[in-house]
Amino acid sequence: MKAKGYMGRILRVDLSTGRSFVEELSDETAQAFIGGSGLGTKILFDETNAATDPLGPENPLIFATGPLTGTMLFNSDRFDVVARSPLTGIFGEASAGGYWGGKFKACGYDALVVKGTAEKPVYLYIDNDSVEIRDAAHLWGKETFETIEILQKEHGSSAKAAIIGPAGENLVRFANMITDGLHGRAVGRCGMGAVMGSKKLKAVVANGSRPIGVADPEELKALQKRLGLTMRENPQALRDGGTSVGYEFCEEIGNVPIRNWKQGSWTGAGKKLTGMTLVKTLLTDRYHCGKCVINCGRVVTAKDGPYAGRQTAGAEYETVGLLGSNCMIDDLAAVQKSNEMCNRFGLDTISTGNVIGFAMEAWERGLVGPGDTGGLAIEWGSVPAVHALIERIAHRKGFGDLLAEGVKRAAQRIGGDAEEFALEVKGLEPPAHDPRSKFTVAIGFATSARGACHLSAFSHDFEEGTSIEDLGLPVLTDRFAVAGKAENVAVMQHLMGMFDSLVVCKFGLFGGLTIDPLVEAVQHVTGWESFDRKRFFQSGERIFNLKRLYNNRLGITARDDRLPRRFRHEPKGGGTRDHLPPLEEMLKEYYRLRGWSEDGTPGVDKLRELGLAGYAT
């Protein structure tokens, strides 16, 4: 590997055989697919097919860093995890911040690919010199917080662990991985924790200290210095108020989910659930991921339960939306408790909040009753019901076993008209951004490779007059307009693909870490002098299209690029002003711009242009 920034090595571990080996990461692959999400996608594409069972030994669980991971650049300690999703059956990925990414890369590897299934629970320990598969009998069954404390006692606090909780062990389809222990950075979506649990892999502990080479450290330092002021000053509201700092605004514009996405507004709830309320009533400190000066992380002191008096992660915007207003709960302390439980058990809060909101509506409609729920009354606004369900989902107990399958499968099993209010796209439940409030979100949800995802386009903060300075597109000013939305989403998807492949936190955008500085960072780190804006966006487009090809191979077509019924046909008033996104019209333009067929398949010319002709199905 000639390029700097990379370690040039991929670590492969087979838990069935107990064998591990190292393979080279070539310059060619790095240049084409960058790292992180791109590299993970290529490995998944090459090594799986339609027969690969997401919970079977052949499904690779890929932890991938990028060339910027672990360098001095702001926001760069992230990593991406890719596998076939047990929740959706298609492309799955999730990324996390914290410190694990940089620590793993400093062991000397760009990626870890885990296959096979161990005979009994194990964990991986990786440092500069060793790769060990260790017995995890003393960890299995334990919650994430307890697990991290045991591992830190065994390996020291410098070791960082990506771990699963009981939800992952029980193969809950939306189980997550938690890194950074009580600070709860999560590899949240798509059930990556269940893939890990299916391999009987409890944790991956990384304890590396090798230096990461940089082609031109002085120029990188200079770039860092130029960004320093804006990175510190511009995101101050995010630093002070956290990711839910704009919750009140989001309620006003109809962005937040209320009552299983049915209700358009909830007077007073925005103020009760907003980030500033968390600051006033619960916050005891702030947390930042590696190399980050934004400090958006919340730290609260748990009031009761097994971690009473201890500092734990505060609820983020998504959690406040899905486990708060979506379930008709406006008690922030109760939502915080839900957050803590999900983190301890290892559950994605987005899917969990959606599935509980769905269950509440099923209860209201009489589709489920006390006989199904073991006597638990799943009523709107019931905090005891939410907390009981979180526990039962994580442990697959009673009605929780059904909900642990995700909203799509649960609705299919409940029957009646349940599927009409089971909100998902391609099987993935939606995050707390309503496509009826912002039309770019409609396109993004429908076309994201992993299903309903706001991060693959990240357009939701740039649709009403605010913009990324150097994006090179007209500024969007009307969230209900159609013009320009398709192009905007496509370009943002390429940009976000690069963030996920380099791997850098997207919040850096708010501090000036935009396209031109990122291009410069890649040049200075890798030494790729010819890397420019064109190559930047082309790489992002290549990665996006490869994900699409992967899904096409699994049978995904334009008919799957759709929104759930509630988003298409049910106006909800409030800040959406009864708008419904004209998805078909926007998708037609989107496919045309992308060079895709009407059936949602990348065309031959586009694949040739991107160097993906050999991947065509």
Partner: protein, 90 residues
């Protein structure tokens, strides 16, 4: 006279200028004066009744006004008020 600093994402509404001197005894009054000066900014800042919307996060010095007295927060001469576009989480 307060010094109102507008962060980059909002400058398209304030003639692309980031700094403005605006009169007002309270944050609310300063914002209404700013909205009158820049009519494109007004609908983001203010409701029809003139009260502050949540679309823009307002700081007096280094404090979010929601931690102070909201739009009634008094403004002294030379105070620094900063405007941030509200974010929708992640």
């Amino acid at each position: 006279m307060a010094r109102v600093l507008v962060t980059q994402p909002l400058r398209r509404y304030t003639d692309n200028l980031g700094e403005h001197e605006v009169e007002g005894a309270t944050v609310g009054r300063v914002m209404r004066a700013l909205g009158q000066r820049f009519p494109e900014l007004a609908p983001k800042l203010l409701r029809e009744d003139g009260s502050l919307r949540a679309h823009i996060i307002i700081y007096l010095g280094d404090r979010d006004i929601r931690l102070l007295d909201g739009e009634q927060t008094p403004v002294e001469a030379g105070s620094e008020i900063r405007l941030f576009a509200a974010l929708a989480g992640g």
